[in-house]
């Protein structure tokens, strides 16, 4: 059993601990920390189970499954928070996930990969198609903010209608992106797929053909526990973070996405250190893309049904932060090469933005 799995088994103990913390009233901070730790192995196993099932059911259904469950942890936490009315935290976690994937995950992958290899290459064509889709998605989810910020007298209802229209367009684009990558232009992605298959083969070599029903069970159980733990996390979030002296904005933009994206972080960095940068970047960029093209619109539509006024009107500074992240990630990834300095630049950008959200005054934001 790998070191990673041993750590996960230990972290699993935090499921009962977090439940105990909640029912025995050990305090909100204890609940928040233990629930956060308990989610980490669950998210990792959900990811692993999705990939195992994807191998069995074939590329098309598997691709769909990956596309839907790839960000399941974020989506579940966000839905629970949305239902609890923590709309600002939900929105902040959307922008935070995009920023985190582009700067923190991609930066760590390029830095740690670059420390081992002088120069790493990846397919610039796929990088550009992904960048173009992501640019569109990011522009689209930020347009309501830009509209509200640059004009006066826009009613909340108009913003919600506009956000809903944008959400529909984004989901249509998401479906078309899947069609492009899995059907009409799948050959462009072959190298990435080949790398992923090598990973899968290595997996199979160690434990044989995956058992689909076992993994479906794992997926369901993990999903159930993530829901439960997300409730604990969300319920304790406000009190716990204010005890730590953190604002809700900082929590939403920095802390929640790190918990929700931990699995992607691990995968992207691990494969980058094996010089498989195509796979590494497709995890990082693909995850941001899914957030913008799938998770964000689903939340807008869910908000309508949950009776929560969820729209795409972010704080203006979130707009600045996301724009900046996309610009710097584009500049760095567009040439199909990476080195440790480029990784460092991404991490430096993340650090500076982290400072910005840390110093951001509370009352003007939440």
């Amino acid at each position: 059993m790998s070191v990673k799995n041993k750590i996960f088994l230990v972290l699993l103990l935090f499921i009962p601990v977090s439940l105990a913390a909640h029912y025995l009233e050990w305090g909100e901070l204890a609940v928040f920390v233990t629930a956060g730790l308990a989610i980490l192995p669950l998210a990792a196993w959900m990811g692993a189970a999705t990939e195992e099932i994807a191998v069995v059911v074939g590329p098309v259904l598997g691709g769909l499954l990956n596309a839907t469950f790839g960000n399941a942890t974020e989506l579940i936490i966000a839905l629970v928070a949305l239902n609890a009315g923590l709309i600002d935290i939900v929105k902040a976690s959307i922008t935070g996930s995009i920023i985190g994937n582009l700067l923190l995950v991609m930066g760590l992958a390029m830095l740690l990969g670059g420390l081992r290899y002088k120069e790493q290459k990846f397919q610039p064509i796929v990088a550009r198609v992904n960048a173009a889709s992501m640019n569109l998605a990011v522009i689209a989810i930020l347009l309501p903010t830009a509209m509200n910020y640059t004009s006066q007298g826009i009613s909340e209802q108009t913003l919600q209608n506009f956000s809903f229209a944008v959400a529909i367009v984004l989901i249509v684009v998401y479906v078309l992106t899947l069609l492009f990558s899995m059907k009409t232009h799948s050959y462009l992605y072959e190298l990435g797929i080949a790398e992923a298959e090598t990973e899968t083969d290595a997996l199979e070599a160690t434990h044989g053909k995956p058992n689909m029903w076992l993994w479906t069970g794992v997926l369901l159980v993990c999903t159930l526990f993530v829901a439960i733990e997300s409730e604990l996390l969300v319920d304790s979030l406000e009190v716990a973070t204010s005890q730590l002296g953190l604002t809700a904005l900082f929590t939403g933009v920095i802390l929640v996405p790190i918990i929700g994206n931990a699995a992607e972080h691990a995968t992207a960095v691990t494969v980058a250190m094996k010089d498989k940068m195509d796979l590494s970047l497709s995890v990082a960029v693909g995850s941001s893309m899914q957030i913008a093209l799938f998770v964000a619109p689903v939340l807008v539509i869910a908000g309508k049904f949950l009776g929560q006024p969820m729209d795409l009107d972010f704080k203006p500074f979130e707009l600045v932060a996301v724009t900046v992240s996309v610009l710097i990630a584009n500049t760095i990834s567009s040439d199909g090469r990476s080195n440790w300095l480029e990784g460092t630049l991404l991490l430096a950008a993340y650090t500076v933005l982290g400072f910005a959200f840390f110093f951001h005054p509370v009352p003007a934001i939440i």
Copy 2:
């Protein structure tokens, strides 16, 4: 006679119909719709006549002619609207033309071309020179807006002086761009020219060497009728669009440019479907470039002489929309390849911006 020409002949009937609608007072909406339809064949024939004359007079004079009359329809509509004092609609139609050419025309060309060919290639060098010129132009025409938006206490007179200075710089740059593409670096554009000549040869094969005087006559008659029809269009515009429940902003940004650019739309899409992407993109990007480098500054200078306070201070959201369009068009065109998904992304961006202008509240804008 091609199907296109048959349609044009039928549309020509709308010239007398629109005049009848005007003088017999059938209502502003009828005048608006019929005048809009009547302009379509006139614009197409003006374009055809300009190209025919250009073939006869040689590349240099022909290039100049194309450069001046290429956006004649937009220019005439805008001058008529400017003279009528509809300054906000004139400004909106400038941004709308840029957005429309970059997203709608380029998007349709890439989508419809991409449905027929898996991957289409074009010269990235020309694309980059064009992109750089266009970036400068767009930045320049948006600077007065940015200055006004980010600072307080800027007088209307200062904005007009600044806009006038910007207009002079832009026209100088436009002349230098022509010098570059027709004289010092014409070899870069040879592929595009070769494609255009094939088109012209095909034309000549069907009807022989063009008769210059005939086409000059066509050009003059069409120009005259476009002026007349533009008057009808502009006079009926405000009442008609408010009857349709549309704001003046939406009309200026979305409707007017579609009418004015219909000829470019048809050309760009037709040649894209013949896999001549260089020509297709040069029509789309070249047309935006002409709007920003030639039409917009001419309107500012004309405003000074017509006594209309025309400046380059757009609505802040127009600035956002144009910036976003340029960014996404740059990302997509900079690699010299296109496919149907990239076309779809451009159209999706156009759709989302269309929603934004549709939902934009009226009083804050006009």
Copy 3:
């Protein structure tokens, strides 16, 4: 003796003249102009001395020396102005130096080089690494402005703390950039170094191996006089420029950087005319990068010790101007080729921004 050196010797006469102007009270305008002229040869000789010493002490120490003294003139003028409490002018000269290097210096180099050579090529990889570092630096120094502009209720103290944190990150990134270019990936820069060495060889051929102690003496004397002349320049600046009818903003953004960067201008243009574009661009982009990664953070930290409330909260329009300059410089330099039109576009952008700062109203800014 070259024409350049003859001009410098004549300009040197302005050192005593400026001192006379100051002590004999010939008026602030006379002091300002003569001090400005006196700084030009001093800055040039400081640059020359730094390079001569760098040749003797070897690449690593030499690189560090160049990195520290490369923008010594700007740094000295800025420190003197900071100490005199002219914080707005210091900030304006930071943005002005970045804009001037990217648009004016690079533009002149591409234009004059392009008039002699049809197309000039340079290493796109180095251009991209530089562009990425510079993007990060520019984004980082502008984030406090963006934060302040998009949110209410941010205290001056918060802005200073945030600016200080950003300054520390930037200096760390600067050190890592040096490590990258001089140690781990120095081979990427070999072409540029080879060109620089040819320059140096040509220099040595004319006057033999440089005498290190002589040049160290030159460096110290020049530094001393630049300090003195900077005092005169800064003291006379406010009265002199208001006599010329110029605002402090225009002076800081346009005039001061032209004086401080005159040496870079001369070098970049001279080598561009010898078709050594790698060296030319690395001077222009490298100088902007040093301003953003080294000079700006040093000034923030110095402000803390001098008791001057120096932060990175620029005027919003400066943010627009720098963003625009970076975007257009990126577009033009990313393809590794240049021609006269691209140089013209950069100069046109500089002209338009110059107009913008000229027309900028006074009271709202200073």
